[in-house]
């Protein structure tokens, strides 16, 4: 679940490339974990992006349960492949609060919004070649900008549109209740 203060997300960036698929985000062997069970939700977080090639910088330090990175910057077609909701959940459980990608795969994007795990921003500019893993950055949700702290470079992000209030509310159900679409929690 997303918790942001003052519409700002500040933290370290992890950079990933194109076509990061759901098998890399959360390998299938961990799909026996059920996200609605709190201990297993946390466990999913500890495995986030462990499917990346071993040549990549680790997203989670060996032995750690969460990631030190808060913002993920990626290329095209992020989250392609499976419909496993475990994928956006693992990233959120690991501590990611926003993703800035050139484009998303449909089901992953939909799942990210429905779970409200993080803000899924899109940007036409190829930021995965501009940022480096470890850069400190500030993402302004309202202004729709991503700023690299050391260089003060600010990049415009595509507006979230209809998605923003759903994620801000905490996902599909929270939003549906907030807007009166469905009744109180059973």
């Amino acid at each position: 679940m997303n918790k942001t203060e003052n519409n700002l997300i500040r933290g370290k960036v992890y950079v990933a490339g194109d076509n990061i698929d759901t098998d890399q985000i959360i390998p299938a062997q961990y799909l026996n974990l059920v996200p609605t069970i709190p201990e297993e939700y946390a466990k999913l977080g500890s495995y986030a992006l462990c499917g990346l090639p071993d040549t990549c910088l680790p997203f989670i330090r060996p032995g750690a349960q969460k990631s030190e990175f808060t913002i993920l910057v990626a290329g095209r077609n992020f989250g392609c492949g499976s419909s496993r909701e475990h994928a956006p959940i693992a990233l959120g459980a690991a501590g990611i609060q926003a993703i800035v990608a050139e484009s998303y795969a449909r089901i992953f994007f939909r799942n990210a919004v429905a779970t409200g795990e993080f803000f899924p921003f899109e940007t036409a500019r190829r930021l995965c070649e501009t940022f480096q893993t470890g850069d400190e950055a500030i993402l302004d949700i309202k202004a729709g900008t991503l700023t690299r702290v050391t260089s003060h470079d600010t990049f415009a992000l595509n507006p979230l549109g209809a998605v923003a209030p759903v994620v801000a509310a905490g996902g599909l159900f929270a939003y549906a209740r907030q807007t009166g679409m469905i009744g109180k929690k059973g």
């Binding site: 698929d21 299938a28 609605t36 990346l52 419909s83």
Partner: protein
């Protein structure tokens, strides 16, 4: 106002006279499908949001088909199936195929049409990206996650955006030993791994009409590998014959208007298509099989919703009937029905089981998703080292079948069989 088949199905499901691409609409769901790895999470969301004692909107519209982690010692996998058992009992859901009982079926996307739950003109959502398979029978079928599925369980509806339609028209006669898998791999290779993102992929033309229903399923199954929202083929007499064999439920098919606006059309002459592979590590990495004869293989794998149907095994047997494999060849029928058919189907008087045994294949495994997606470490066929695998499955991402160091080439059952014989990637037309 003219609409495509996808637009018409969605309009009807949303009680609207017309929709256009981009419209966000609430559709009534005809079937919600889930399995053992996403079912428990979906049930979790449903019970958290609607209450522990809440009832699903319509138990007859829910299909729960365990298929992913069935033949494993993994304790959580078995706990997950127990979760499903408890839920179907509480809810009175009859479309449940228990691995522990005689009703077990196997891979959900092959089982769902087997049990007559795929009907033209209907709206099917499943917690599995290959739900798009069911467009082969003229339904709107698309993959979703646990939260959306939990929402459907409680309300019977989902908010979706009407997709634009991309049309793929294939005409002419497919050359011998060129299969549906070769058609879809070529298309994905041409348009790219996200070339159909958010779009409906409509397949048409006389080549498509000449394909069997199972071959049409193979094509629609891989629409997701180009990012497609759904894959769809207009229902015809073949589709109705298939369905009538499975159910006598009333059918209310939908057909697109020939003058409906589409986003773009691609045309193919079937005679120009060849046996091909998708190379590591994306399904869009197209290459003709003949251009890859130098690739040495360690394993061949025939199985999954994409390539583990009886048609797929018959095609493989056509190649293997006169040959011996030179690499370990793993066979996983998608469902119990397919496994049974391996015994009864014959070529020149020999059963497929016998043909595969004579060819030196591994013993046929029980039906499930098995190693298509890796799975628990004791999964049959899972890679563990640097294996070079040629497979009838649907994805070849790094680590997809288990090991990050293994490489996967995707191909048709005939190309996989020919390659199993050769020990290198082989074009099935080059074998007797």
């Amino acid at each position: 106002m003219a609409m495509t088949i996808t637009e018409k199905i969605l309009a009807r499901a949303a009680d609207k006279t017309r929709v256009i691409p981009g419209d966000n609409i609430w559709v009534k769901v005809d079937i919600l499908l889930t399995h053992d790895i996403c079912g428990p999470g979906t049930i979790g969301v449903f019970q958290q949001e609607f209450g522990k004692n809440a009832k699903v909107w319509d138990p007859d519209k829910v299909a729960i088909i365990p298929d992913h982690y069935i033949f494993t010692r993994d304790v959580k996998a078995h706990r997950n199936i127990d979760t499903l058992r408890q839920f179907v009992q509480e809810q009175g859901i009859r479309h449940f195929y228990d691995p522990a009982g005689p009703g077990y079926r196997g891979v959900c996307h092959v089982a769902l049409p087997e049990v007559g739950l795929v009907r033209p003109g209907t709206v099917i959502f499943g917690t599995d990206s290959h739900t798009c398979t069911h467009g082969a029978l003229g339904a709107f079928a698309s993959g979703i996650g646990n939260t959306d599925a939990g929402f459907i369980l409680g309300t019977g509806k989902l908010l979706i955006k009407v997709p634009k339609t991309l049309r793929f028209r294939i005409d002419g006669i497919l050359p011998p030993r060129v299969m549906a898998k070769d058609i879809i791999l070529r298309i994905i290779g041409d348009i790219g791994f996200d070339g159909a993102s958010y779009c409906a992929m409509e397949f048409t033309g006389d080549t498509i009409s000449a394909l069997s229903i199972e071959e049409r399923m193979t094509i629609c199954n891989m629409a997701i590998e180009a990012g497609g929202k759904n894959g769809i083929i207009a229902p015809d007499d073949k589709a109705f014959a298939y369905i009538r064999n499975r159910t006598s439920a009333p059918l209310d098919p939908v057909y697109g208007d020939p003058d409906a606006a589409i986003e773009r059309e691609w045309r193919y002459d079937a005679a120009t298509l060849v046996p091909c592979v998708a190379e590591p590590h994306v399904p869009s990495n197209y290459a003709p099989a003949r251009d890859r004869k130098n690739i040495k293989l360690d394993r061949a794998y025939i199985g999954s919703c994409t390539g583990g149907k009886i048609t797929d095994f018959c095609a493989a047997a056509e190649i293997l009937k006169n040959h011996k494999v030179t690499v370990p060849t793993f066979l996983v029928p998608a469902t119990v029905e397919v496994a049974d058919a391996l015994i009864t189907e014959t070529i020149d008087g020999r059963s497929l089981v016998q043909i595969f045994a004579d060819a030196g294949c591994e013993e046929i495994a029980p039906p499930s998703c098995a190693a298509c997606l890796g799975g628990p470490e004791d999964t049959y066929g899972r890679t563990s080292g640097h294996e070079a695998v040629i497979s009838t499955t649907n994805r070849n991402f790094i680590g997809r079948m288990g090991s990050k160091n293994s490489r996967i080439w995707l191909a048709s059952p005939m190309t996989v069989a020919a390659s199993a014989v050769s020990g290198h990637i082989a074009d099935p037309r080059d074998l007797s």
